[in-house]
């Protein structure tokens, strides 16, 4: 388990959730668990903050929700990506790549400013 935890940038939660849902429909707890597992708990998300993010994205039409029965026979609300959500994820992915590449170049820079 990584000792360092990364403070979450505003708006990144949306991207993380969209990415999570790109694997298929998932309930809120499932999303939390997936983030935890994927990042080895490096991103300490307050799990409660997931839900406003989900609702907001539902209002924007990026995700849709549906009540279903889980494998162990409980009712849970499942979220899935809408086509608009998928487009949003793609848009975010390219800007994140550009951002992280730029950050990487800065952090790895070997020449001092002229």
């Amino acid at each position: 388990m990584a000792a360092a935890s990364v403070a979450l940038l505003q708006g990144t939660l949306d991207v993380i959730v969209l990415k999570t849902l790109s694997w298929g429909p998932m309930h809120g707890f499932g999303i939390a668990r997936w983030i935890q597992q994927t990042t080895d708990d490096a991103l300490r998300v307050e799990e409660g903050s997931l839900y406003p993010a989900l609702y907001r994205m539902e209002n924007r039409g990026w995700v849709r929700s549906q009540w279903r029965i889980t494998d162990n026979k409980r009712r849970a609300k499942y979220y899935s990506l809408t086509p608009a959500g998928r487009r949003q994820l793609e848009a975010q992915r390219s800007s994140w790549s550009a951002f992280s590449a730029a950050m990487g170049r800065i952090m790895d820079a070997t020449s001092q400013p002229a």
Binding site: F29, I69, R75
Partner: protein
């Protein structure tokens, strides 16, 4: 499907009906926390630990719940709006299909509504333009017309002296503008032209400010006696006479023979009516005028200071006026101020007229709505089955009503659209027919407020006449309706509403027709008023002699005599006279008169109007000389002062005694100048035909000289044909003289009745529209009655009823309905015709002949409208009727 153990069972059912967002949020978060606890337990924590760790990891549950609740509300609002849009869209499409399926019904309903809405919109555009629109001035809301309360009651214009005092002692007014009328002759540009002008103070422009179209207005420096003459032109005069000359400012023009420099052009907005001023020149009160406290001549408009209540400003001014009343007890003022918002003083006189028209056109709309409602009710009966089926398929009553209302509102909307076209035509006709005297009417257009009005009226109509049929159509016993098919089993109830509607329509149209009838009767009465002279074959024209060219009394007298002789020489002119002001056109100088020997205090005098006339004036007018003589060559400027009086004044002053040889004083204040009465003439109507003849005193032209006189020409040929000859005859005497107001006496009388003719025409038109609509309504209900009673009629005929009997039965139904409406309408008319009190002449507002005549007309029309269905009833084949029932 298993049910979660901890969820109350009822909640599931609740969710079946509608989603329960709060419960959903609750469920979702609980699921999350319970899953986390379960995982923690599986990892080996104790129950307490597991719960605490889960809660810690989750954060503030309540905060999350709150934010989810608000996000949910946001979403629901959006969804609800979308759903509404869909429902309305659906209803509209359905309504369009329904209306398209019944083109005849739709056309009749839309046209009826278009007539009602269009007429209302046209009249409203006039009402808006005349009554509601703010005046064009920059500070229109703070303008008041100020008049002086008179000792004998009522109010008067303001004396120049009092006006000067007001200006000095009324700090709560930004400006006190004053003016009186002045007539000017413009020469040097085409033919000499008589101009209607205002002599206005510099403050006039500050009070009644609208930015000038060109140049500037005149200020205090120009508003002084002896200052160089300046003039402001009206927009109309500038565009016509001066051909919109862009370099007009600074040009010098000749008015009354004197040079005036044009300083500016006022914008067109200053023209509040078709008789608007053409020029403004400075009032330039002389020191003598500023000391005048008895001659009430000025019209004063005050602009109240911003933030000061009008009542405060007027109270201050009243205190000043009170002092003036003490200071000048002979000034005729009682120390009070009569302040009227300027808009009221501009349009006050025509307000009742506009309101009567607006009310009448509103009645027409109600009748139109009644008809459409009847159509909808008839259709509701036909559509019972459709409604029943939709209702059986699960449509809620509210939903069905919405659907039906959408249809009626759509119908009204279509009626509104066509109605605006009707309004455009109507307004065009209205403006063409409108008399000159109604201020601001000529500017009426179908502008935004008028269109909003039309839309509101249409919407209101759609809802008002739609609700009842929709309620009716959707309140029904499903099983019965389905079982019986389209037979209307509750026709008695529904029939009664339709009956009520038709009775109301008849009553409303009776009110309209009684109003129109009274006006028509009044017009006839006016036509038979003897004016006191013979207007046929009379031509009149005004000539003014500018003081610059005719400075002395003898020069004006000589000039007028030469003009009279020149006109007299025209072939076809059999007699030519001069008078200071022709009858019908109004009073000239109205002031107190006393007979010799009576008290000469103003209070005890009676007012009489003075005119200056040549001796042959009465014979030219064919007004009989009742006693004594008229003026002759012996009545010279220097000889004994004489007058001729009219019959009314003779009776007032002397009763049945002979006034000839007695003496009276007129317009001579506290120091009477006695004049001998040499003759008595018959009365002439002085201000229109409707007003009773006033007291009149005639002076010989030699003893009362005025610079402007009217020619009265008795023609042996059609009088209008003499007009060019009259102009050239005057030009022959002096080419610089303006001849104005050339018209026949019959035209002048017609013009004086233009407003009442306009009202009569409009109300008559509205009355006829109402009558036709009511007739259609009666026809519809009786036709419905026949179709409903087909079975019964069949039975009657099978049992031996004659066609005549059947026909009479149907007719009786129609006439009975109309009779009920007539009875109600008569009662309503008694109240409603009060509104016409000031508009009718020679007939009482409760004139029995009009009331009974209109009632008879309505009953007759009702009988006629019932004839077609009655005839159809007699053509029923008893066998068909019985089988079909």
């Amino acid at each position: 499907m298993s049910v979660p153990n901890d969820e109350p069972r009822w909640r599931r059912y609740l969710r079946f009906w509608r989603s329960d967002p709060a419960a959903d949020v609750d469920d979702e978060l609980r699921f999350h926390l319970e899953s986390r606890v379960a995982e923690n337990l599986a990892a080996g924590m104790s129950a307490d630990e597991a719960r605490r760790a889960a809660a810690e990891r989750f954060g503030d549950v309540h905060a999350v719940e709150r934010s989810l609740a608000s996000l949910t509300r946001e979403r629901e609002t959006v969804e609800r709006r979308l759903a509404w849009g869909q429902v309305i869209g659906q209803d509209l499409r359905y309504a369009v299909r329904q209306l398209a399926r019944n083109p005849a019904f739709t056309a009749v309903a839309v046209l009826t509504l278009a007539l009602g809405i269009g007429a209302n919109t046209a009249i409203f555009s006039a009402v808006y333009s005349v009554l509601l629109r703010p005046l064009p001035y920059a500070h229109a809301g703070r303008l008041v017309e100020l008049r002086e309360g008179a000792q004998g009651g009522g109010s008067m214009n303001v004396t120049a002296g009092n006006y000067e005092v007001w200006r000095q002692r009324a700090p709560r007014f930004v400006a006190l503008g004053a003016y009186w009328y002045g007539a000017y002759t413009l020469t040097g540009i085409g033919a000499p032209q008589r101009l209607f002008g205002l002599e206005a103070s510099a403050d006039y422009w500050r009070a009644l400010y609208i930015p000038p179209a060109l140049g500037r207005y005149f200020g205090p420096a120009a508003d002084q006696p002896g200052a160089p003459h300046v003039v402001v032109l009206s927009h109309a005069l500038w565009t016509t006479t001066f051909a919109s000359d862009p370099h007009i400012v600074g040009r010098t023009i000749t008015l009354n023979g004197d040079p005036y420099t044009v300083v500016g052009v006022a914008p067109a907005a200053y023209a509040l009516s078709t008789t608007a001023p053409e020029i403004w020149v400075p009032l330039a009160l002389t020191p003598a005028q500023r000391d005048e406290h008895a001659d009430h001549e000025l019209t004063v408009v005050g602009l109240v200071r911003d933030g000061v209540p009008v009542s405060d400003a007027v109270r201050d001014l009243t205190a000043v006026q009170h002092e003036l009343a003490h200071e000048y007890p002979r000034g005729g003022i009682d120390g009070s101020i009569v302040a009227t918002p300027l808009r009221d003083s501009v349009v006050g006189a025509v307000r009742p007229l506009m309101l009567v028209l607006f009310g009448a056109v509103g009645l027409v709309l109600l009748i139109a709505c009644g008809n459409v409602m009847n159509l909808l009710l008839a259709r509701a009966a036909v559509r019972r089955k459709e409604v029943a089926i939709r209702s059986a398929l699960g449509a809620a009553r509210r939903r069905l009503m919405m659907q039906l209302l959408t249809e009626s509102v759509l119908l009204a909307g279509l009626g509104g659209v066509v109605g605006i076209a009707v309004a455009a035509l109507g307004l065009h006709a209205l403006l063409r027919a409108s008399p000159q005297g109604i201020p601001r009417l000529f500017e009426a257009t179908l502008n935004a407020p008028v269109l909003v009005f039309a839309a509101l009226v249409a919407l209101l109509c759609g809802i008002v006449f739609g609700v009842w049929p929709a309620l009716r159509a959707t309140r029904l016993d499903l099983q019965q309706a389905l079982r019986e098919g389209s037979r209307d089993s509750t026709s008695a109830v529904r029939g009664s509403m339709r009956t009520v509607l038709v009775i109301a329509e008849v009553a409303l149209s009776l009110v309209l027709l009684v109003g129109a009838g009274l006006l028509v009767r009044s017009a006839f009465a006016l036509q038979h008023v003897a004016p006191g002279f013979d207007p046929r074959g009379l031509l009149t024209a005004q000539v003014a002699l500018p003081a610059a060219r005719y400075p002395t009394d003898s020069s004006t007298m000589e000039a007028f005599e030469r003009i009279r002789e020149a006109v007299q020489a025209i072939p076809g002119a059999s007699s030519v006279a001069l008078v200071s002001r022709i009858p019908i056109a109004g009073l000239g100088m109205d002031c107190p008169v006393w007979r010799e020997g009576s008290n000469t205090n103003i209070e005890s005098g009676v007012d009489a109007n003075g005119r200056s006339a040549t001796g042959n004036y009465f014979s030219t007018m064919r007004t009989p000389l009742l006693r004594g003589r008229t003026f002759d060559a012996s009545d010279l400027a220097g000889s004994a002062p004489v007058v001729v009086i009219n019959e009314t004044l003779a009776h007032w002053l002397y009763g049945s005694a002979d006034p000839v040889g007695r003496r009276l004083a007129h317009c001579s204040g506290g120091n009477p100048k006695w004049r001998e009465i040499v003759g008595v003439v018959a009365d002439m109507r002085a201000s229109g035909l409707a007003e009773a003849p006033p007291n009149e005193v005639y002076y010989p032209t030699s003893q009362m000289r005025l610079s402007a006189m009217s020619l009265v020409i008795r023609a042996a040929v059609p009088p209008a044909s003499l007009a060019p000859a009259v102009r050239s005859a005057v030009a022959g005497v002096d080419p610089e003289l303006a001849v104005s107001g050339v018209s026949t006496m019959e035209e002048i009388i017609a013009r004086s009745m233009a407003t009442s003719r306009f009202t009569t025409m409009l109300l008559g038109l509205l009355g006829l529209t109402g009558l036709v609509l009511a007739a259609v309504g009666i026809y519809g209900v009786i036709a419905y009655f026949v179709s409903q009673r087909a079975h019964e009629i069949g039975v009657r005929m099978a049992l031996g009823a004659t066609r005549r009997g059947v026909s009479l039965m149907v007719l009786r139904q129609g006439v009975a309905l109309a009779a009920a409406g007539v009875a109600i309408g008569l009662v309503a008319s008694v109240a409603a015709t009060h509104a016409l009190a000031g508009m009718i002449y020679g007939v009482s507002t409760h004139d029995p002949a009009t009331f009974l005549g209109v009632a008879a007309v309505l009953l007759l029309v009702a009988a006629l409208a019932s004839l077609v269905p009655a005839h159809r009833a007699t053509r029923l084949d008893p066998l068909d009727a019985l089988r079909g029932g």
